[in-house]
């Protein structure tokens, strides 16, 4: 991956080079009209939808928690854990994420409102709204600005110099996936940045840190103390604890996968920091179009991903009701086609594979993975060892040689 602005320099095509300012204006006009058509028809049907999802989620959660009171019995454990996992996924994805985006604020229901909602996650809603709605949705896929790209712990672009530390990133990514809600809490808090800058004593940081700590305390008490304690009647303390841990982990893995699919698969574009100086609304729209990827699948899959399977539509219109994304998707796709843009959409396994492939590829020096074959493996490994153990000079030299070899072999193939 190389930022869209640097592509021509290395012989790749800038996917929006063929669009002029007038095209961008026309695209923006069409998108505004699509947005307006949804707003004009927002009503009872949509309200019924979100209320039904909330009711279903609460019923599943309540039912699962009741079944888990007897989690010592294996069938109860399996059913309860599965139910609770589903409930937690629905709560985070289709309900919490979307309500906190203000998608349902128009209903003026104080119980389903972005300013009053709190969700079943380690990060307090208030902090997440700032980090996610304000930063990620504004600076989508801008290297150095959008922390969702690699969460500040990963190498996400070929332009970032490789360091031996990056070899561990598939592992970091997996650990982050397992404990995703805590990863999000830490990064909403800008924890690493605060430590690096030495601002952990600031009143603002201390206040936010306390909010996260209190939230985590409530969450942990619920899942690992209160509900296990209630299960003691049937001697199921430990099994309920294990069930809740499993459900949280399943939810974490699922939401991490879905979110990785949104901006990380191959074919999604990244952008230069300076490219968004004075960016116009049409330019912002196009960045959202090219910086997001969809997941194709069934209606159930869309609901379980919180309709983030329609990531492109969501990024264009973050505050439209999620049940409408699927409805406008054909229009958006048609717009992409007419303007010769790539609508990045694949089934879940392919998107997940693609995103993970990228994580692995970027954990290695540029070009290493692509140029490694079973035959040259010993040589490649030796080179990797040298780059990992040598200083910056060795790394630069070997990287230059590898890049040169790759260019030559590309030229030969052509």
């Amino acid at each position: 991956m190389t930022t869209i602005q640097k592509k021509p320099a290395i012989g790749q095509v800038n996917p929006i080079a063929h669009l002029d300012a007038e095209d961008l204006e026309l695209i923006a006009k069409e998108l505004d009209d699509i947005r307006q058509s949804v707003i004009d028809t927002r009503g009872e049907r949509d309200a019924r939808y979100i209320r039904r999802v909330i009711k279903t989620q609460r019923s599943i959660e309540l039912g699962s928690r009741v079944v888990l009171l007897a989690s010592l019995f294996p069938p109860a454990w399996v059913v309860g854990t599965a139910g609770l996992s589903v409930a937690k996924i629905l709560e985070n994805m289709e309900i919490g994420h979307n309500i906190l985006h203000g998608q349902w604020d128009w209903m003026r229901d104080p119980k389903i409102h972005s300013t009053t909602w709190e969700w079943d996650s380690a990060t307090p809603a208030e902090q997440w709204k700032h980090a996610h709605n304000e930063l990620h949705h504004n600076f989508t896929n801008v290297i150095g600005k959008d922390n969702d790209l690699g969460y500040g712990i990963m190498r996400v672009d070929e332009d970032q110099p490789w360091h031996p530390m990056h070899l561990g990133q598939p592992m970091w990514n997996f650990i982050n996936a397992l404990f995703f809600e805590y990863g999000i809490a830490a990064y909403d808090l800008e924890f690493r940045g605060a430590i690096a800058r030495g601002t952990t004593k600031d009143p603002k940081f201390k206040r936010e840190f306390k909010a996260v700590r209190d939230k985590i305390k409530r969450q942990v008490t619920k899942d690992y103390v209160v509900h296990p304690a209630l299960s003691m009647v049937t001697g199921s303390f430990l099994t309920t604890m294990a069930a809740n841990f499993t459900a949280n982990t399943v939810r974490n893995l699922w939401s991490h996968s879905v979110i990785m699919c949104g901006h990380f698969p191959e074919g999604v574009q990244t952008f230069e920091k300076r490219s968004i100086d004075g960016e116009s609304k049409p330019e912002w729209y196009v960045r959202q179009m090219l910086g997001s990827a969809n997941i194709s699948g069934s209606k159930l899959m869309h609901i379980m991903t919180g309709n983030l399977s329609h990531q492109i539509e969501h990024h264009l219109f973050p505050d439209l009701p999620s049940n409408r994304y699927g409805e406008i998707a054909p229009k958006i796709k048609d717009l992409f086609e007419r303007y010769g843009l790539d609508y990045c959409e694949r089934p879940l396994p392919q998107q997940v594979y693609s995103a993970w492939h990228k994580v692995v590829r970027l954990s290695l020096p540029n070009g290493w993975l692509d140029s490694t074959t079973p035959r040259n493996l010993p040589g490649q490994l030796k080179r990797l060892y040298q780059m990992s153990t040598g200083g910056p000079k060795v790394r630069r030299a070997l990287q230059a040689r590898m890049t040169q070899e790759q260019r030559r072999s590309l030229a030969r193939a052509a």
Partner: protein, 383 residues
């Protein structure tokens, strides 16, 4: 003694609070009520709601809703009104309606709604409400009630005049039904009501458009009231100069008037000149007219900003030095949302107006995004 009493009263409440806190540890981030509402939305301790049990058409454009209120309903006095929150096209709207029954033995309450032409909520309530619908309620309120008869004074004749126009009849019908309950065997004349001598001056655009006309006629036939009906299409618009002719003993009566603002203003002037006792009740406050720009008052900050209609409130408030919550400044992140208690704003992207009318749009006002809304009239923000 007093201290002792307050302890015994406070004790169960404290236990209740503790039990709730404990239950919350199992439901966080939700509260136990969120789950209980799935099964028992009308239970004690729930937010006050009511379930529509039946809908009775009154005229072509008016209907009475019989509602079973939640367990915490504290009852009402005839003449009072209730604020009802109903989701119209998915949007929560609040309106006030007079309770049209006295307290009923079965604990139900009723409101009679007239569909206002071009109205938003009333046509919906009249035509689209089905039995089973859940409504949001607030406790009954209102000062438009009959003075409580004093048990010390000798029972005197209570001479009253009700002047009602259009749906202004609704609180009055609540009082009349309470005084003179109607049964299968006719209108009851109860001892507690014997002292009342009531004239009803009922004004309506036409006879078929009169809500509760049958009730009024039945009461008249039973000798409970004297009815003077005036229809604009038959008698022309009511001229208050005729009041003495229509109600010869006007000077002896205490007047209760309920109807649109114009009529109430006229009655008030008329009665003030003659120094006659008057109670009034008005339904709708003066309509807001959206214009270009307006003053935005931040009630808590105590600052008023003169905003033009072309730029977001957020920017102009910041320019004026108000500390504003803000985020993306393009209408997507909702960090800048503030409650508007009163006023009109225009969405700069779509031109759409958002209007907040105290008493109609929720107790907390309407939440607006200040970064994409411009003032379109004088506004009051809770900030």
């Amino acid at each position: 003694m007093l201290g002792c009493m307050s302890t015994t009263l406070a004790q169960p409440r404290r236990w209740r609070t503790r039990a709730l806190k404990l239950a919350e540890t199992a439901t966080t981030p939700l509260v136990p009520a969120d789950f209980l509402d799935l099964f028992a939305p009308l239970r004690a301790g729930a937010e006050l709601r009511g379930r529509v049990e039946s809908v009775h058409p009154e005229t072509a454009d008016a209907a009475t809703l019989v509602i079973r209120p939640g367990a915490d309903w504290r009852g009402h006095v005839p003449g009072q009104y209730v604020r009802i929150g109903v989701d119209v096209d998915g949007v929560r709207c609040w309106r006030a309606y007079s309770l049209t029954h006295g307290p009923r033995a079965d604990g139900r309450i009723s409101v009679t709604v007239k569909a206002v032409p071009d109205g938003h909520v009333s046509p919906y309530l009249v035509r689209h409400t089905r039995p089973g619908t859940l409504l949001h309620l607030e406790q009954a309120t209102g000062e438009f009630v009959l003075p409580v008869p004093s048990s010390v004074e000798p029972v005197e004749t209570r001479k009253l005049l009700f002047i009602t126009a259009g749906s202004g009849i609704t609180p009055v019908i609540g009082m009349l039904r309470n005084l003179f309950p109607s049964t299968d065997s006719g209108v009851l004349r109860l001892p507690r009501s014997a002292a009342y001598d009531i004239t009803v001056l009922h004004v309506a655009p036409s006879e078929p458009e009169s809500i509760f006309l049958d009730d009024l006629r039945r009461l008249e036939a039973a000798g409970s009231i004297r009815l003077v009906a005036r229809y604009d299409d038959q008698h022309g618009l009511l001229d208050l100069a005729d009041l003495d002719t229509l109600v010869p003993d006007l000077a002896d009566r205490t007047t209760f008037a309920c109807g649109p603002g114009g009529l109430l203003d006229a009655v008030t002037t008329h009665h003030e000149q003659r120094d006659l006792p008057l109670y009034t009740e008005q339904f709708r406050v003066t309509a807001l007219v959206a214009g270009e720009g307006g003053t935005v008052t931040f009630d808590r900050a105590g600052v008023t900003v003169d905003c033009d209609g072309g730029r977001p409130i957020l920017e102009q408030a910041e320019d004026a030095g108000v500390l504003m919550p803000s985020g993306c400044r393009m209408g997507i992140c909702y960090q800048c949302v503030l409650p508007m208690r009163e006023g009109v704003v225009r969405d700069l992207r779509s031109g759409e107006l958002t209007i907040a009318v105290p008493g109609e749009t929720g107790a907390d006002g309407v939440r607006i995004q200040t970064c994409i809304n411009a003032a379109a009239g004088p506004c009051h923000l809770d900030h």
